[in-house]
């Protein structure tokens, strides 16, 4: 595989002559990382302007600056933009740029996939903002609660644009996460054991894993909503037997871990900035790394705390409250780690450090109000008030955006080779601290006073006007601070002082190469014997490995094709699990006996026979793989062709079944059984088709003699997927045809 990467470098070098156009064709992780960041900055400005418009509307009571509908569109687009077009890309951008440098790799594991992941984003962004031109931007909130988002209540295409663009961006995010995970697992330089990677790398690996498991619930919900809207199903329409609550479950199963998808990178950035400017290694590396892993494990079990007010029942509320309190522990641990790192350190108050310290304080405020919300009665009292708005903006801006600014000031010299101006940086810092706390601090009080969120205006209740005015005026301080940053960036690019390779005397590998790094990243690497290789190289007499040992590298690197296949399969498995959950939810109910059911409509025996074909294709695939690794190409091709044939037979069976059902009037909009049946089996059929395309490409390559025993691992990676499709079918067959769990 290494030859392939080298070839890509050659193309990347050739590209650089094309000027601006080369950015479109680039597969260099640094350029793609920068593209991610620039896109995020662009949409930060757009989302910020939307926020300012919202604040202008709310500055005085009974304002008519915006129409109610436009206000709804603005807060929907503000939320969606900030989550999907700022938060996701900016962190993926930093990960893309920094991770290969930090682990001493030449590039990410799959440079072309990386470019594809990025270009999905502008595509999704255009789709999302195109909706303004249709005259109906999405206005159902960034969470698009059903039934508001279903056809009877939102008949204009705004929500459709919202769904499609989120699905497109979700595909890009999953592909990007697979790439990051494979890079960290498979491409580390010799000596860089997983216990030695910089905390940024470890935490971003955890974030990648979290993205892999958290985007699929959103995708399955989006698919179902789209089927509702376009094909007339009723998954989320209670009037026709659907469940609006199911949308909330699925959405928050995505939405809550998504908070950690943002919080983890902020932790990652702060964990690099604070030690460097305290001149100490991080206090309790294993605690920070371990607690980040625990966050990933726990984040999936707390979503329902967004739903305390919908009436889940006391038992469910208590358990989710407990789980939510539990997840505060690993987050709290880290606050102590960072504080202890500062303790006794020789602190340098650079702009980056100031932002990191402000992060600590403000994130604690946001975290503590989060713990308040974990308590069910407080949640009931304050839900849908401005207290919630204050809480999550303290987490997202006071915590995460401040960490991002710290990261910007810290890594800007590495990325551009120029230093940012510290004086301007401090002006920006104070503008943001005042602006941020002014805007959102007072919203806590507004929330206590009962001001509801998502309402375009308010009556002149005592105190509301003053507090809202403070909030709106302060928002402009943040805008001014942002302009200062933009000015700082432009002026330092034009005439900033040169940074040099390691201006901060930092510890990790990215500071070992020049600023900006060359296309191939490193000319040479120092010996990696501890968590701070650059410190060791620059201060050999005080090298870390002399005083404290870390687990050595065993040199084992899994195959990246198989690693990525497994990561993909995990993600897809969750997608199918949720579709099957929807099937079980809608078909386990006795009262919905009208219309066709699985017992009356399905021919179990015939489908069972066709299933045998699909399952035996797994066996023939296994045989093909064995022949390939033995070097028997004829046998390999024979069994591969047989696998494809068996898959096709299965699809033919499915086509016959669909045809018969449709002839009998069982269509996707008939009832909930039909909707869930066609959704689950249809998506499975789509996956079989995808697998067949991949296998056919393999067969063509085998014909041309490209598939040698050496490359059998790539083939094995497709095998992981193919076997997975079969396993999914076993689950589908057991649940739908054999009636398990009903």
């Amino acid at each position: 595989m290494s030859t392939e990467v080298v070839q890509q470098y050659e193309t990347a070098k050739a590209d650089s002559n094309w000027g601006l156009l080369s950015w479109f064709a680039s597969v260099d992780h640094k350029r793609i990382g920068l593209l991610y960041m620039l896109l995020a900055v662009f949409f930060l400005v757009i989302g910020g302007v939307e926020a300012l418009l919202i604040r202008v509307q709310l500055a005085v009571p009974n304002n008519t600056f915006l129409s109610p509908q436009f206000f709804n569109q603005l807060f929907t687009m503000h939320g969606t933009t900030m989550v999907f077009l700022v938060g996701m890309p900016v962190f993926t951008g930093f990960a893309n740029y920094l991770i290969p440098l930090m682990i001493g790799a030449k590039d990410v594991a799959f440079p072309r996939l990386n470019a594809m992941s990025f270009w999905m984003l502008p595509f999704g962004a255009v789709l999302l903002y195109w909706s303004f031109l249709t005259g109906s931007a999405p206005d159902a909130g960034w969470f698009s609660y059903a039934p508001l988002s279903t056809k009877p209540y939102s008949s204009l295409p705004g929500v459709d644009y919202w769904i499609i663009s989120l699905a497109v961006m979700g595909i890009g995010s999953v592909a990007g996460a697979i790439n990051i995970a494979a890079t960290v697992i498979c491409c580390r330089a010799p000596g860089m054991s997983l216990q030695r990677v910089p905390l940024f790398v470890w935490i971003m690996l955890m974030q990648a894993i979290l993205i892999l498991i958290t985007i699929p619930p959103l995708n399955s919900a989006l698919a179902m909503l789209l089927i509702d809207r376009w094909l007339g199903a009723a998954f989320f329409e209670p009037a026709r037997g659907g469940s609006a609550l199911l949308w909330q479950h699925f959405f928050w199963m995505f939405g809550h871990p998504e908070v950690y998808v943002f919080a983890l990178p902020a932790f990652a950035m702060v964990s690099e900035v604070i030690p460097v400017f305290s001149r100490k290694p991080i206090y309790g590396y294993a605690f920070v790394a371990g607690s980040s892993s625990v966050i990933v494990l726990l984040s999936y079990g707390v979503w329902a705390h967004h739903m305390f007010a919908v009436g889940l029942g006391m038992g469910a509320n208590i358990f989710f409250a407990a789980a939510t309190l539990l997840i505060a522990i690993p987050t709290g641990i880290k606050i102590f780690n960072w504080t202890a790192t500062l303790w006794g350190g020789s602190i340098r108050c650079t702009t980056a450090m100031l932002f990191a310290i402000a992060f600590l304080v403000q994130f604690v405020v946001g975290g503590l109000t989060g713990i308040m919300f974990a308590t069910v009665p407080i949640d009931w009292q304050l839900t849908d008030t401005y207290f919630v708005v204050a809480h999550f903006h303290y987490v997202l801006i006071g915590g995460i955006v401040f960490a991002l600014f710290a990261a910007t000031y810290y890594w800007f010299p590495k990325i551009t080779g120029k230093m940012l101006d510290e004086r301007l940086g401090k002006i920006q810092f104070w503008l943001w601290v005042i602006g941020f706390n002014g805007t959102f601090g007072v919203q806590h009080f507004l929330g206590f006073m009962g001001m509801p969120r998502r309402v375009y205006t308010y009556a002149d209740h005592p105190g509301w006007a003053t507090l809202n005015a403070i909030s709106s005026v302060s928002a402009f301080f943040m805008a001014a601070g942002t302009l200062v940053l933009v000015w700082n960036v432009i002026s330092s690019l034009l005439r900033g002082s040169t940074a040099g390779a390691n201006p901060w005397d930092a510890f990790t590998l990215e500071w070992f190469t020049t600023s900006p790094p060359p296309v191939e990243n490193f000319e040479s690497l120092p010996e990696i014997k501890s968590r701070r290789p650059v410190w060791d190289a620059n201060h050999p007499e005080q090298a870390d490995w002399k005083t404290s040992t870390t687990p050595a590298d065993n040199g084992h690197r899994p195959d990246k094709a198989k690693t990525s296949a497994w990561a993909f399969v995990v993600s897809e498995a969750i997608f199918f699990i949720l579709l099957l959950v929807a099937y079980v939810v809608f078909n386990a109910r006795v009262e919905d006996a009208s219309g066709p059911t699985s017992e009356t409509a399905l021919n179990v025996l015939r489908t069972g026979i066709f299933s045998v074909f699909l399952l035996s294709s797994s066996v023939s695939f296994w045989l093909a793989e064995r022949h390939l690794s033995r070097g028997d190409t004829t046998g390999f091709r024979k069994y591969l062709a047989m696998t494809i044939l068996l898959g096709v037979v299965f699809l033919v069976g499915q086509a016959i079944e669909y045809n018969e059902l449709i002839q009998d009037g069982v269509t996707i909009n008939r009832n909930l059984f039909a909707s869930t049946f066609f959704t689950v089996t249809g998506f499975h059929g789509l996956h079989v088709t995808g697998g067949l395309v991949a296998l056919s490409i393999m067969l063509l390559m085998a014909r041309k003699g490209y598939l040698t025993p050496k490359r059998s691992k790539v083939f094995g990676a497709i095998g992981v997927y193919w076997h997975f499709v079969d396993v999914v079918w076993i689950a589908v067959f057991t649940i739908i045809y054999l009636g398990f769990l009903q």
Binding site: G290, G301, P551
Partner: protein
């Protein structure tokens, strides 16, 4: 109400089982370390608790949630205590025997353990089986035994007394994380489904005349099943996360590059994560 005489089953066979365990342990491992004995006594007491206390009595046809507590004790907690109680030196000697070694190695593969642990949860909550095991003492006994055995198989790759049968920490973490997803799914299903997972608990025969007080306390069948589902979901995952944290600690504290593959006292020593 918890001290109501009817809610305690003082003549349960669990006493006998627990006593046999302790006696056997003392006879076989005469010079065992104290902490091993401590785990065993903990396991034996939990065994008694699971059957003698109201947990056991109410699990017998009254409360699905009590059944779930008993189920988790039998499947997860007691087998873990039993495995942790085994003295490593002695075990290392025993498992030098070729046949035992083969069995130990077979169980150390993650698939059988995972299937036993997660499969036992799913299988015994198929409505027919769940009701049958509650209503028929013979099947109930079979179920409880299968829980204990499945639990031993499940924890073997994590807590086997001989180091070489344990999974490397990162694999152990994925093992437990996927097991957590397995019981989460079942927990979610039981919590939110509208059908009765275990019909035996929907209309209990009120042998002990406590049903009214149970309902008065709010434990109606619907709430009871919801609680059961949540118990299936949150406590096992918390336990797994706890074990995952301990595995992570081991992974990070491991500073030795190579460990002799057959270290007799390997338990508790730092060991290598190198994939073999």
């Amino acid at each position: 109400m918890i001290w109501d005489h009817a809610l305690w089953h003082w003549t349960s066979l669990a006493w006998l089982v627990a006593l046999v365990w302790v006696a056997l342990y003392l006879i076989v491992f005469r010079r065992a370390a104290v902490h091993g004995l401590r785990s065993l006594v903990l396991g034996a007491s939990l065994m008694v608790l699971a059957f003698v206390s109201p947990i056991g009595v109410l699990a017998d046809g009254y409360l699905f949630s009590a059944h779930m507590v008993q189920h988790l004790l039998l499947l997860l907690v007691i087998p873990m205590c039993l495995l942790l109680s085994l003295p490593k030196e002695k075990m290392a000697q025993w498992f030098e025997n070729a046949r035992l070694d083969r069995a130990g190695r077979m169980l150390s593969h993650p698939v059988p353990g995972w299937v036993c642990g997660v499969g036992a949860m799913w299988l015994w909550h198929v409505p027919v089986l769940c009701s049958a095991a509650t209503q028929n003492a013979g099947i109930g006994c079979l179920r409880d035994t299968s829980f204990l055995l499945a639990g031993l198989a499940f924890w073997w790759p994590i807590f086997a007394p001989v180091q070489r049968y344990r999974l490397p920490p990162l694999s152990g973490i994925s093992y437990l994380f996927s097991a957590c997803i397995g019981c989460t799914l079942l927990g979610i299903y039981i919590t939110f489904t509208t059908i009765t997972v275990c019909p035996a608990f929907a209309n209990p025969v009120d042998r002990l005349h406590v049903l009214t007080s149970l309902y008065d306390a709010g434990l109606t069948p619907a709430i009871d099943q919801q609680l059961g589902g949540l118990l299936m979901w949150v406590p096992p995952c918390s336990l797994y996360v706890g074990v995952i944290i301990s595995l992570l600690c081991r992974w990070y504290s491991n500073t030795e590059t190579v460990t002799p593959p057959e270290s007799p006292g390997g338990y508790g020593r730092p060991f290598s994560t190198s994939a073999k």
